[in-house]
């Protein structure tokens, strides 16, 4: 194996025997000049569609800090962050799932299931050091079941729609429809406590986000996940274990949904089968707002976090301005629509335009000696 490695290195580093010089340096200067002016406009447009959400969030924060004296306070920031935390925790997993061109609608139901199970286990006098790992594991198993069915070829939308239904059903069966209080102070600390001046849920969300970012951008697993969403056939042809990755991303999302369920029930000190209703929509909205493509292959964790914060900042500021809460829903929905419009259609137009105008230059660059090689 070692000498193979060496051959590889030597082939990579020394030019092949007849290697031609990269074509015709004489043409380069003029094109260089041309292409160094043009991309500016291109880059500006690309920047606008790629980072529009970040800019919009920044602008909104500036406007709001003038509109309400309570908005730009540390307390309010932590309020928003604490509300966003359970969404962010799941959305990190969802980013992986969506980047394989999948979807997981069942996360809200996993939250409900873990909520009632945790309350039940704690009531049965189990230690939190048993309860929490146990519910996390149950969440991971729920996810793995989703992943298995998706891997054998069922549409993720339907598989997870089914588990959305049956998991909440199990939560109702287990709790008989009743919410039950959680009395463990240590458990509730996870939702209500502060650590080093920061709310514990925010710390949990930050840790999860960091790990998610590491895995997505710094490891082979991350690249392979994106490759499956980008083009599954290509990933397979390169020998990537598609089954393993699909099952793992759904399991991780199940586990994170369970973690989020723990945080949510701790904050309410209550295990309820009604926890996390419609939460999946918030999670998916945050992820897609953050620029993760529903068709797979493109994803960032930072975008997802900003997406989640964006939704919660809007809600919070409308509340602070005393706007009728029913309108909040209308506004949130409308913003989602506009943001997705920018993220998909406008993004495609701009990228397309940037690419075609750029390609026109490159085509000339790649084959500058046109005509000399032509066969016919």
């Amino acid at each position: 194996m070692n000498d193979r490695e060496e051959i590889r290195k030597s082939r990579l580093e020394s030019p092949l025997p007849e290697a031609e010089k990269p074509i015709d340096a004489g043409h380069q200067p003029s094109r260089f000049l041309l292409s160094s002016i043009l991309p500016n406009r291109r880059r500006l447009a690309l920047f606008a569609v790629r980072y529009g959400l970040f800019v919009a969030l920044g602008l909104w924060i500036v406007i709001m800090s003038f509109a309400s004296e309570h908005f730009l306070t540390l307390l309010n920031f932590f309020n928003v962050a604490r509300q966003a935390a359970p969404v962010i925790v799941i959305a990190v997993g969802m980013t992986f799932v969506i980047s394989t061109a999948g979807i997981d609608l069942s996360v809200g139901s996993v939250v409900a299931l873990t909520s009632v199970l945790a309350a039940g286990f704690l009531k049965a006098e189990l230690s939190i050091f048993v309860t929490i790992p146990l519910v996390l594991m149950i969440g991971a198993v729920c996810g793995a079941v989703n992943g298995f069915f998706v891997h054998i070829g069922l549409p993720a939308f339907v598989v997870t729609l089914a588990s959305l239904t049956y998991l909440r059903g199990i939560a109702f069966v287990y709790s008989n429809g009743y919410a039950s209080p959680i009395k463990s102070e240590a458990f509730n600390w996870l939702g209500r406590g502060w650590f080093g001046g920061i709310p514990v849920p925010v710390i949990i969300a930050a840790i999860v986000s960091f790990i998610g970012w590491m895995i997505l951008t710094q490891t082979r697993f991350g690249v392979h996940t994106l490759s499956i969403g980008g083009r599954e056939e290509a990933a397979r042809a390169m020998g990537i274990n598609v089954r393993r990755i699909k099952i793992l991303v759904y399991s991780a999302t199940g586990l994170l949904a369970a973690l989020s369920g723990v945080v949510l029930s701790a904050r309410l000190s209550n295990g309820s089968p009604n926890a996390g209703i419609m939460l999946e929509l918030d999670v998916i909205a945050s992820t897609v707002l953050g620029g993760t493509s529903l068709f797979g292959g493109v994803a960032t964790i930072s975008g997802t976090i900003v997406g989640a914060l964006f939704i919660n900042v809007i809600r919070n500021s409308l509340n602070l301005m005393g706007i009728n809460p029913f309108w909040v829903q209308v506004v949130t929905g409308a913003i989602l629509l506009v943001a997705i419009l920018v993220n998909t259609v406008a993004n495609r137009w701009v990228e397309e335009w940037a690419r075609t105008s750029e390609q026109a230059d490159q085509e000339v660059e790649l084959y500058p000696n046109n005509g000399t090689g032509g066969g016919q």
Partner: protein, 254 residues
């Protein structure tokens, strides 16, 4: 040196009721360019996907340097230096040039027990490799979907040649390319051959095979029709073999 690099013996493959290949033999010598031709559904791609590990054969055996091998997947075939350039290039459009070249074989650096991608090293190697192939493409950090067809093929070829390949299988390398690009592909094939790599070219275009090939093998409906040295045959003979599925010298006697 007389042992062929690759020997495939009695390879059979069926998909449900369809027999894609029945008892096909193939030999590939060191430093040889072998053309693989045949009509649609002749089984060319299937045979090559078996060699590259993408499919498993139902019968027959594969010998590499005279040693019997079984490939359970593309990774294993690649560990013997067998690489395939797919007709559609099998690139992930959203990933960068470097990410595509190293897909499945990323270089990692261990630190604190966590293996992180060594992106700088991979970028460096893809750059120097593309240069050494005389292929010029935009920055290796650009996404593949931003590249033109010819550039994408350059990336696919770079990926196949970057890892001590012994055999490179090219599936229709000149389909969908303009004349200058075709010329470039032919040059690349010859250059790879001179560096000691054996190449199998699947092509509809006999001109390609006659321009760069040493031997040509004809398949029809999953069966081997015959093999000819390129210097010892002409296009009309090969065409007859492709169309009629028989060797014309016999036919001429009639």
């Amino acid at each position: 040196m007389n042992t062929p690099l690759v020997t495939m013996k009695g390879i059979s493959k069926r998909f449900g009721a369809v027999i894609a290949l029945s008892k096909v033999d193939l030999t590939l010598n060191h430093g040889e360019v072998l053309g693989l031709v045949g009509d649609n559904a002749a089984g060319k791609s299937t045979l090559m996907k078996i060699l590259s590990g993408a499919y498993q054969s139902d019968g027959g055996e594969i010998l590499i340097e005279g040693q019997l091998q079984r490939f359970s997947g593309p990774m294993e075939a690649r560990s013997f230096g067998i690489e395939m350039v797919y007709q559609d290039f099998a690139l992930v459009p959203e990933l960068s040039v470097t990410q595509n070249i190293f897909l499945g074989r990323e270089i990692v650096r261990g630190r604190f027990g966590v293996k992180r991608l060594d992106k700088r090293e991979m970028d460096r190697q893809s750059n120097s490799h593309l240069n050494s192939l005389g292929l010029r493409i935009p920055p290796v950090s650009s996404a593949v979907r931003e590249l033109s067809g010819g550039q994408q093929q350059a990336v696919a070829i770079a990926r196949a040649t970057g890892f001590a390949a012994n055999v490179i299988i090219m599936d229709e390398p000149t389909a969908n390319l303009g004349a200058p690009a075709i010329e470039k592909v032919r040059k690349t094939i010859l250059r790879l051959k001179n560096s000691g790599i054996s190449i199998i070219v699947i092509s509809h275009r006999l001109e390609d095979i006659f321009a760069v090939g040493d031997r040509v093998m004809v398949l029809k409906r999953g069966k081997l029709v015959g093999t000819r040295l390129v210097c010892d045959t002409e296009q009309s003979e090969i065409l007859h073999m492709i169309v009629a599925g028989e060797i014309p010298r016999k036919a001429k006697v009639r």
